[in-house]
Symmetry: C2
Subunit: 388 residues, 2 copies
Amino acid sequence: MRKPRLMTPGPSPVPEDVLLELARPVIHHRSVEARAVVSEVVDGLKYAFQTRNDVLILASSGTGSMEAAVVNTVPAGSKAIVLDAGWFASRWGVLCQTFGVEPVVVPTEWGRPVEPEKVANALAEHPDAVAVFGTLSETSTGTGHPVEAIGRVVAGTSAIFVVDGISGVGAMECRTDEWGVDVLCVGSQKALMMPPGLAFLAVSPKAWGKIDAFDSPSYYFNLKLARKSMKDFTTPFTPAHTLIGALKVALGRIRAEGIEAVWARHRRMGEACRAGIEALGLELFSSRPAEGMTVFRVPGGLKDSEIRAGLSERFGITTIGGQDRLKGQIVRIGHMGYTDELDVVAGLAALEMVLGDLGFEVEPGSAVTAAQRALMGQHATPPGGIGR
Amino acid sequence: MRKPRLMTPGPSPVPEDVLLELARPVIHHRSVEARAVVSEVVDGLKYAFQTRNDVLILASSGTGSMEAAVVNTVPAGSKAIVLDAGWFASRWGVLCQTFGVEPVVVPTEWGRPVEPEKVANALAEHPDAVAVFGTLSETSTGTGHPVEAIGRVVAGTSAIFVVDGISGVGAMECRTDEWGVDVLCVGSQKALMMPPGLAFLAVSPKAWGKIDAFDSPSYYFNLKLARKSMKDFTTPFTPAHTLIGALKVALGRIRAEGIEAVWARHRRMGEACRAGIEALGLELFSSRPAEGMTVFRVPGGLKDSEIRAGLSERFGITTIGGQDRLKGQIVRIGHMGYTDELDVVAGLAALEMVLGDLGFEVEPGSAVTAAQRALMGQHATPPGGIGR
């Protein structure tokens, strides 16, 4: 028996009660019943995103919300700043080019955080930039970016701050309104504990100003249509209502645990996983790690594929390797959403054994012990006090 | 107790085994396991669509597939013929205008079928039209259009034939390749017996010729990216994999029943429902009814809302009224997908009783009897011989 353990940075495991909700009969999406579900889900999303801004629901993957953010806020022929620090951040640049927007790329070495001063410089040099496109948690490198500090920089300009929070929201502190995030993009299949198929946007009044200023060449992703429908708690086109019903249950879990406690749990899991990885003598890839995933460099003499195959074949654990220029160089372990401290401990135990089997010098128990120490230290922190 | 009976022209009821499949744990969408599911689903879709063309899977509602069809095949500044015969067909025109395509509208009175000769005339007058956008089953009016005959007309030209089969495919005969449908758009929540959230496209070599001839300003809906990923049985962006897994089960049902038998069942249900409606002295809205739904005019002295509320409050039956210019004038009853002859009989029995309660002169049992007669006559037809 190999018990399946999904430890990728999305999709992530879905709680049993959320899965069972998916099995409920389909209802009509324009019914009073369906609108009540959407209304409750919107409230739950606002809480999870820490926003009072409008929240919109799309039937798409997270990328759909990124496309919607680009095509609705920046007219073709205009300029936008792209904080390119990884595979997914570079997608902002591709989207800009696809829709005739000139991307001003602020490059950051993959694995390092974007420096807010560089953003300030780019904005000073390009005061006509309509938007700054950034990332909360870069899934390709496992890096958490300083969204709060960048938000402060952008807030003082006429540009809006658009953040890809797809793998970040729910796993990392994100105070959308307080931090000046004008458009937040989120996907369902990461820390929100849901299957893929839904995407969300939180849109600030400053962002609506940009959106209302021109006729966007968009239809399926037209946010003006979405705003209008959402006033009646529905969507312009048939919503993926089965998923929305399940999301209600997942968001109920987040509310019951408390968003600060959810962030703190992810922080503890991140600390424990990193402590374990480092105790094994492995090198963390990121200098400012995201909390919902841990990325380590493949040690010399080993292949990422054999480590991942060992985890999968012996223990049923699914992890993921590197993308693009990081192919073969890193292993990415997810610990987000419906994942607890013991899942991390178990994952590290498996990694120890697999590395040992592959001939890598391992002190049995070292990663697990280091993780437990981290967790015990963390437990001493007063509840609610997550600091930063 | 009111047993819920979903009788709208989408969403439609989902079989219990398909619902339970949704409750299975999430797997990673790039895994070997996931690709095997996608491969099987693509085969099943090809069978259901009766096509050997490429089939692509989108995480979107059906409208997403319509947008993809427009934006990928017709460059901005070009011309396309729009067979506008209802609310959803008019969406083709809106999509064209959104993306800078000039729509040449061939108007048809709502409720009547598009006349193939008019399509031929439009093509003769506009030989530079890149595409003809039509509809298999117009959900707003309950009309089935002569796709086969229109396909013959378009096949002789350089234009491609794009068909919105969202509420039609699975409920009405559709021989994609034989009938010359170059791009078929389908949604999951109609006769495919699935919840909403997935859309599909079948794309012919002739259509790929148009698509490959220019750089489409699309990203999420870029069909060249989708084709490339589908060669590895995946999608460019995270697929709604839970839904795809359930679709495998739904398509297994279609294959087990046989697509011709599925079409024949819908034809019998359509005939029975229409016979019942006419026996009540009600007027059918369409002169060429679709098979997956029946639309009748609200009789004088009654309101659509009171008929629909009666069905819902007394019997738990969800139906839908008219859209746009048909608001208040019609009632639309769906009988597609996971619906059988007895569901139609039950629906008619409810309608009789509700109309009687509302003071409409009803001979109890008349609709039900007429439907049964139609079903008994149809049962006499030799199996497999569905004719046309």
